[in-house]
Symmetry: C2
Amino acid sequence: MVTDSRTRLVEAAQQLFAQQGVSATSPRDVLAASGVGQGSLYHHFPTKHDLALAAVAATAAETLEAARGRLQGDAAPLDRVVAYLERPRDALGGCRVGRLTADQAVVDDDGLRAEVAGYFTGLIDEVAAVLRETGLDADAALDRARACVAIIQGGYVLARATQDPELLRSAVRGFVALLTGPATA
Amino acid sequence: MVTDSRTRLVEAAQQLFAQQGVSATSPRDVLAASGVGQGSLYHHFPTKHDLALAAVAATAAETLEAARGRLQGDAAPLDRVVAYLERPRDALGGCRVGRLTADQAVVDDDGLRAEVAGYFTGLIDEVAAVLRETGLDADAALDRARACVAIIQGGYVLARATQDPELLRSAVRGFVALLTGPATA
DNA sequence: GTCTATACAGAGATAGAC
DNA sequence: GTCTATCTCTGTATAGAC
């Protein structure tokens, strides 16, 4: 079965949003990338907003699921968090979800922002749950989980600003050294 | 002496870029905000790119200077870093410089990106220098300085995503607890 | 469901008068 | 140096045939 127009449109939009953001991506761009005709786009998605919502929701869900997979497993809790932090990333591309927070049109739209917010709260909750397994109390685990997620997002910013993936790795290294304590530092 | 057109244009552009980013801000927006006429804009800045360069450079320089001021002083080195991290910030607005890294047009432009990169490398160097005063070796200080800068940038992302300034403060709290060690944690 | 053609606003810039 | 008028291209969407 050939992929249908609707699916191709959403997948093309996801890719373009990851590269250029939502505001900078036009319906025409999506049409060209998907190979679908103009009539089809506006049949499936009456407005650009409808398409954006579908694409952002799909990206947020996929990304959160991947992270959840990594944070679960048999390894020791702290090791799983460190493995999550140190996982290879497309540093120069940036986070497909996090970058959207710089797009004012996304933040100003309740529907789009809810998808982005859901990704981050879901990810933070997951990390916090793993940290609590280490014996940390709930409040400290939440602060520390937010720091874990923030260090990745901030590392992306540094890497993109300097066009040097090493800055993401370096920031993570500095953080992990603090996280694992004097024993490993 | 009344502020001249050129200055008013740059200041208006700085404000608009902080709110909407570079790509999303049109020359017309800048004209309206500055109260200057169209002829003047294109007299002082032949293209939008010229104006963007002037405005981004000004913002990067101002922001870096402000940070330097905070990181110098008589307090103990680690206290100065913590004070820098914990300083009140416009969490929902985001970093005026860092947010630009999500704008592909900025990253793809060597001139604009150089201004953004200069801000971050300057800031990181400053933090690293202060951390070395604590006795940390150069490599560890650099990793840790990058983590400090990244935690702020990442905290902004979380705060904007959830529209809740508390997430920036919480991420910083989690990081500072690790940074100041068991003594304060 | 999909196609082509068309509409209309705004972005970015130029022209030429003052 | 500053003004108004104008130009072209693209973003976003609609119309109506197939």
